[in-house]
């Protein structure tokens, strides 16, 4: 999983570089500071889900399977909530602000970077769902806690990428 995270980081870095390189270079509006609001809800959901997944893991390690199910489901719900929040943000940007991937450099780099991240959240949500279903069917027990930990690393990675995206997109490019 460490190697998967390394290779995915290499992929994300290129999109981040493209975003940074093109800050301030769009020829026509909309510009970041005009249309972006700080992503409070999305960030709370996603960063929170990293916390809840750790709680879930701790319950699994102690053998408290029911608590594990509860907190794992909460984590999944937070992830899905993040995706719904992303969709609502994009609907606003596309239909109210007129920002699409083809509009300008900001649009191209924004949607590609944030979209790549969202697709990784989606994959993570699918992974979490598979684990949840398998666990509810009785296949996952205390002895699997190391396997579950590896999945949680992926989820933490997705969270770290969001931290980078927030910094680059919602802080740096809005202030520039």
């Amino acid at each position: 999983m460490v190697l998967v995270i390394t290779t995915e980081s290499a992929l994300f870095i290129i999109f981040v570089v493209a975003y940074l390189f093109y800050i301030g270079k769009s020829l026509i509006p909309p510009y970041p500071h005009q249309v972006l609001e700080f992503p409070w809800l999305g960030s709370i959901l996603l960063f929170g889900s990293s916390g809840t997944i750790m709680v879930a893991e701790r319950h699994l390690k102690r053998g408290a399977i029911d608590r594990f199910h509860l907190w794992w489901a909460i984590t999944l719900a937070c992830g899905v909530g993040f995706l719904i929040w992303t969709i609502s943000e994009w609907l606003k940007l596309i239909y109210k602000d007129g920002l699409t991937i083809a509009t300008n450099l900001f649009g191209s780099t924004f949607y590609s970077l944030v979209g790549l991240h969202a697709s990784h959240v989606l994959v993570g949500a699918i992974l979490l769902s598979i684990i949840l279903v398998a666990s509810l069917r009785g296949k996952i027990r205390h002895r699997h806690h190391e396997h579950i930990e590896i999945i949680s690393w992926y989820w933490h990675f997705v969270d770290c990428v969001w931290a980078v995206v927030v910094t680059v997109v919602y802080i740096i490019s809005v202030k520039s």
């Binding site: 992929l11 999109f15 769009s26 991937i101 191209s108």
Partner: protein, 564 residues
């Protein structure tokens, strides 16, 4: 001893040939389709490499026929552009990369005493992704003629520079076949690399520390690390290109303020480490062959490991030496020129260590060694022309000329392909239990050597005389005619040599001399099991207390671990 020795490790059963247990031809075919065995997948990777080598080699032959004389009429300009794009793309991604993965797949688990790769099914997945990506690219010849009548195959050169690849300048879908086939195969490469690295880190047998690993395994490890770091930039750039072509994104579109140079940066951030991915396993092969056929342990193993890691590291910082002529500022140019010159230092260390291994050794001029010695000469020249090009003002004159083509073919053909041939003559006996025929091998060696030099030596000259790359023909009287003619004749020699080699591979499968476990009297673990190895690789592993466990076994009075 030249006849080889047999090591009594345990009671080995005579292993069946692949598919023998299934009995029939259909059974053999299904065996290959479903296999997750690293040995069979390794052979399939290499078979894929040779298959695509024939395809891209035929393309090269047409290129050379078209350029043999001025005002050529063999193919038209659009077809020519398609040929050079496909030749380059296929040779790098579906010939050289499969050789890298094929050799790593076959050799690495055996060298570390493992039963298979860490994730055998993922291994099969990686192979089939690679294979289907290649089929997808070749499919463009059938499917891509677009509405606007643009050429079938991608014709934008293997580096697909923006804005030529934009919708406006490349209508039709040939560029998309280029992008998509590479996205598919790239994913196969990344998963294969992760698999190999986990295998090396986690599945070494008892006593085999990282510092006792054979150099082939070490160099494969560094190459795999470069793959997982530097194929994603290519994938990212291709995703951006596809978004631009289909959804109107503006990444490389100057009219929207975008930068076409950004494509070049992203491409070469991938492209330069990629060629090190290709060459490092070749170094690995040479580092195995030269000691065994000089009857001396490799000189300076720690320095070889350090140099390999350093080369991998520095290779990530030299990419813009492919962009000296696009208008970067002096600081950037100086930085990249400097880094390019610096990378010659660890590479030079490796060259000197190979020579030092041979010095004072008892040289056996068997076929693997012949190809290895040719490698040493040719890679030296390749490296030197690379250094020449790394001096930016020199590159300002010779960028995009045949001098560059000569340089990189010297590395890839004179270096990597020769090392791959050496690897075949060295490990074919292990894989198939039979030696490759020596007389056919000598014909192959001399024909290919002469052909290689006839083709690529004159290209240095035509390059210096001003012949640009990627031109489909040229006017007479520029002083290029003779060099191009010689170059084309060489292609025919190489083709003949390659045909003899393929014939040898097939003929020796049934008629070759039986090899035994250890035909070359070598020292690494793969020679401690039957040829071909049983499905499970090792019945019993020797104790590993040094870098040459089989030497220790054969010479208990003078073991390596006394000196390491």
């Amino acid at each position: 001893m030249a006849n080889g020795t047999t090591i009594e490790i345990g009671k080995e059963q005579a292993p069946a040939r692949p598919g023998e247990e299934r009995g029939t031809l259909t059974g053999w075919f299904l065996e290959l389709l479903y296999t997750v065995d690293h040995k069979k997948l390794g052979i399939m990777y290499i078979g894929t490499g040779w298959l695509f080598f024939v395809v891209a080699g035929i393309m090269a032959t047409f290129i050379r026929l078209q350029l043999a004389g001025p005002n050529g009429h063999v193919v038209g300009p659009e077809t020519f552009n398609g040929l050079i794009t496909m030749h380059g793309t296929i040779m790098i991604f579906w010939v050289a990369m499969p050789f890298v993965f094929g050799m790593a797949n076959y050799v690495v688990p055996l060298q570390i005493g493992a039963r298979d790769m860490a994730f055998p099914r993922l291994n099969a997945f990686s192979f089939w992704l690679t294979f289907f990506g290649g089929c997808l690219l070749l499919f463009s010849y059938v499917a891509a003629p677009g509405l606007s009548g643009s050429g079938p195959a991608p014709d934008v050169a293997w580096m697909a520079i923006a804005p030529l690849t934009a919708r406006a300048f490349s209508p039709g879908s040939n560029v998309d076949y280029w992008s998509l086939s590479l996205l598919v195969t790239g994913t196969g490469s990344i998963t294969g690399a992760i698999n190999t690295m986990v295998t090396i880190f986690c599945y070494r047998t008892k006593g085999l520390t990282l510092y006792r690993m054979p150099l082939m395994t070490w160099l494969s490890l560094v190459a795999m690390f470069l793959i997982i770091l530097f194929i994603p930039p290519l994938s990212a750039a291709q995703i951006m290109l596809t978004l631009q072509r289909y959804l109107g994104a503006t990444f490389f579109d100057a009219q929207s303020g975008g930068s076409a140079i950004l494509w070049q940066h992203f491409f070469w951030i991938f492209g330069h480490p990629e060629v090190y991915v290709l060459v490092l396993p070749a170094f690995g092969v040479i580092s195995e062959v030269v000691p065994v056929f000089s009857r001396k342990a490799i000189f300076g193993y720690p320095a070889m490991v350090a140099a390999s890691v350093l080369i991998g590291f520095i290779s990530s910082g030299v990419w813009a030496h492919h962009m000296f002529t696009v208008g970067m500022n002096s600081f950037s140019i100086t930085f990249f020129a400097f880094a390019t010159l610096v990378i010659s230092v660890p590479t030079g260390i490796k060259m000197f260590n190979w020579l030092a291994t041979m010095y004072g050794g008892k040289i056996r001029l068997e076929l693997p060694m012949l190809f290895a010695i040719a490698f040493l000469f040719q890679f030296l020249i390749a490296g030197l022309t690379g250094i020449m090009l790394g001096v930016a003002p020199f590159d300002w004159q010779l960028n995009d000329s045949y001098f560059v083509i000569a340089h990189f073919h010297y590395v890839i053909v004179g270096g990597i392909v020769f090392a791959v041939f050496a690897a075949h003559y060295y490990w074919y006996p292990k894989a198939f239990g039979r030696m490759l025929d020596k007389r056919l091998g000598l014909w192959h060696f001399w024909l290919f050597l002469i052909g290689f030099h006839l083709t690529f030596d004159p290209q240095h000259i035509s390059g210096i005389l001003g012949m640009p790359r990627r031109i489909y023909t040229y006017q007479p009287g520029r002083g290029w005619d003779l060099w191009n003619l010689i170059s084309t004749i060489g292609a025919l020699f190489q083709g003949l040599g390659a045909v003899i080699f393929v014939f040898n591979l097939i003929w020796s499968y049934w008629k070759g001399k039986k090899a035994g476990d250890d035909p070359w009297d070598a020292w690494t673990l793969e020679w401690a099991t039957a040829s071909p190895p049983a499905e499970y690789n090792f019945e019993k592993l020797p104790e590993v207390k040094s870098r040459r466990p089989l030497w220790d076994l054969k010479h208990p009075e003078d073991p390596d671990w006394k000196y390491e």
